[in-house]
């Protein structure tokens, strides 16, 4: 295990958009995060890799303010957010696409897409979103949860692109989807990266992660135990297999 303090932190240049240090989190009584440390620079795509139950999703939720109890420090562009509620954190320009997708069944596709309010300029237009995801345009009148799993995943990503948030938290966007849809989501993430979005991606599928990410943080038992730049992934493949237990 690498000590968090000695971990390489200079894989890319640029200022840190998000700095997480000593982040602890709880689900009810159970202590899940035991001091998460990492940072994300503007325009980077960073993944959180790790086994089931390592604390990746919990980390995402803690950043977004969706955890009942959290401690430590989560700084977004220098603003400490640890004491803020989710809606205030969202207004700082950060948006989440949750693991369970969170498509609302009582809303049509179009209503789901328009639900998150526009918080700042710079979001994608609805036309651009429909260009990226033509299926959604065709099915915009359908009930949100009548979509296929892949379409629901696209909708969950699409709706946060409208808001003007330039920092996205994507929790397992490829989980349980057919390869052709995984590719489409991969292309979308690449397109967003090219437009300057900053993304934290939680992934089980590290082949997919490797195709889009700049750096990978490995999470184990509620701690960040390693950081692997994407360029060094091949050299570290055995180590990574050991971490992920594959």
């Amino acid at each position: 295990m690498t000590d968090a303090a000695t971990m390489p932190r200079t894989a890319t240049t640029g200022e840190a958009l998000l700095t997480v240090s000593g982040l602890e989190g709880w689900y009810g009584e159970s202590h899940v995060l035991h001091g998460i440390d990492f940072e994300v620079r503007r325009g980077e795509v960073v993944t959180l890799l790790g086994r089931n139950g390592a604390g990746k999703t919990t980390t995402i939720k803690a950043i977004m303010g969706l955890l009942g109890k959290r401690k430590g420090s989560v700084k977004l562009e220098g603003t400490e957010t640890i004491g803020l509620q989710a809606r205030h954190i969202a207004r700082l320009g950060i948006a989440i696409c949750p693991e369970e997708r969170g498509i609302f069944s009582s809303l049509s596709v179009e209503e789901n897409l328009h639900l998150p309010p526009k918080l700042s300029e710079g979001g994608l237009t609805v036309e651009r979103i429909y260009d990226l995801f033509p299926n959604l345009k065709e099915r915009r009148r359908s009930q949100g949860t009548k979509l296929s799993g892949g379409e629901q995943q696209m909708l969950a990503i699409a709706r946060i692109l409208r808001t003007g948030s330039r920092f996205l938290l994507l929790d397992e966007p490829t989980e349980g989807l057919a390869p052709v849809i995984v590719q489409q989501i991969g292309r979308t993430i690449q397109a967003l990266k090219d437009e300057g979005f900053t993304i934290i991606l939680v992934e089980q599928n590290f082949r997919f992660a490797a195709s889009v990410a700049d750096r990978h943080y490995v999470v184990e038992q509620g701690r960040v135990v390693d950081m692997i730049p994407n360029a060094d992934l091949d050299a570290n493949i055995d180590k990574l297999h050991a971490y992920l237990g594959v």
Binding site: L66, A86, S106
Partner: protein, 295 residues
């Protein structure tokens, strides 16, 4: 003139009209309960008391300040809704994480206190509230006589119910409300102020009850128990329609009013229990209610 099973049409139509009027109150009241339950998960047992307060505020406006029926139709729901908002902020909001039972007990207790206070100051005999001059008299429809005010109650209820349905099912604001009903956490994570939405929704639901109270003031005498008598039936209506279903609450409200009216014609002895019998049957066959869903 035709007769149906030996019942003269005047009697049939008369009871149908009474049924529709009762149905109007069932619909507006159960709509408010459904809206509140949907978002707050609170079974608002104070709804009957808030309906009564609507009638009393209209009466007070008239007798203490000279403000008449039409302004009261707007003012009373605002006043009672504001009181509801204060209750939500200070008390009800503390119960969202607990079982439904706590909300039910709190609002039931509040209802008893409110009714007790009004009984203490105004007695139980009932206070008269005149039909506004513009709605006095009636229309002879040939087969029956329709008092103008009763026609107005039905029209006003249909308008209010439809507007509420439209607002919730067809507007952006309503989409927020529906989404927050399903997953308030995620809606908050999109930057929407869910607690404020919950407070305003409670105020709106309470305002609906008060609106029904003002509508009722000229028909029934204004008295502290008027809500307590009605609310039990309204809860049965909500259970039949399905908790949390907007259109379900409206259609079930009007429908059961009519069924109750018809029962009064064909089997008068059963009219007081018919709604509860239907409730029992619905609970056995479709426990989530006619318009409810399992989700």
């Amino acid at each position: 003139m035709f007769e149906l099973l030996g019942v003269p049409p005047q009697v049939l139509m008369g009871q149908l009209l009474i049924g529709l009027i009762n149905g109007s109150f069932y619909a507006v009241l159960s709509l408010g309960l459904a809206v509140i339950f949907g978002l707050l998960n609170i079974i608002n047992f104070a709804h009957g008391a808030q309906y009564m307060m609507g009638a009393f505020v209209a009466w007070m406006l008239l007798n203490y300040t000279g403000i008449g029926y039409w302004p009261a139709l707007i003012l009373a729901p605002i006043v009672v809704g504001a009181i509801g908002i204060a209750l939500e902020r200070t008390m009800i909001s503390r119960l969202y994480k607990l079982d439904h039972l706590y909300g039910l007990l709190l609002t039931f207790g509040l209802a008893l206190i409110i009714q007790g206070l009004f009984r203490n100051y105004y007695g139980v005999s009932g206070l008269p509230y005149a039909i506004p001059p513009a709605l006095q008299g009636g229309q002879n429809l040939g087969f029956m006589f329709l008092p103008n005010y009763r026609g107005w109650v039905i029209v006003a209820s249909v308008i209010v119910c439809f507007s509420t349905w439209f607002m919730i099912e067809r507007t952006r604001l309503g989409a927020y409300l529906r989404a927050a009903t399903e997953n308030p956490e995620l809606v908050g994570a999109f930057g929407i102020n869910v607690p404020r939405m919950i407070t305003l929704t409670y105020g709106f639901g309470v305002g609906l009850a008060a609106f029904a109270g003002v509508l009722a003031a000229p028909i029934y005498s204004v008295n502290p128990n008027m809500g307590a008598d009605l609310i039990i039936v309204v809860f049965a209506v909500v259970v039949i329609g399905g908790m949390g279903s907007i259109m379900g609450a409206i259609l079930t409200g009007f429908g059961l009013g009519v069924i109750e009216g018809l029962t009064r014609v064909f089997y008068p002895e059963g009219s007081a229990v018919v709604i509860f019998v239907i409730m029992a049957i619905v609970l056995m066959i479709k426990p989530e209610g006619l318009f409810g869903n399992n989700a």
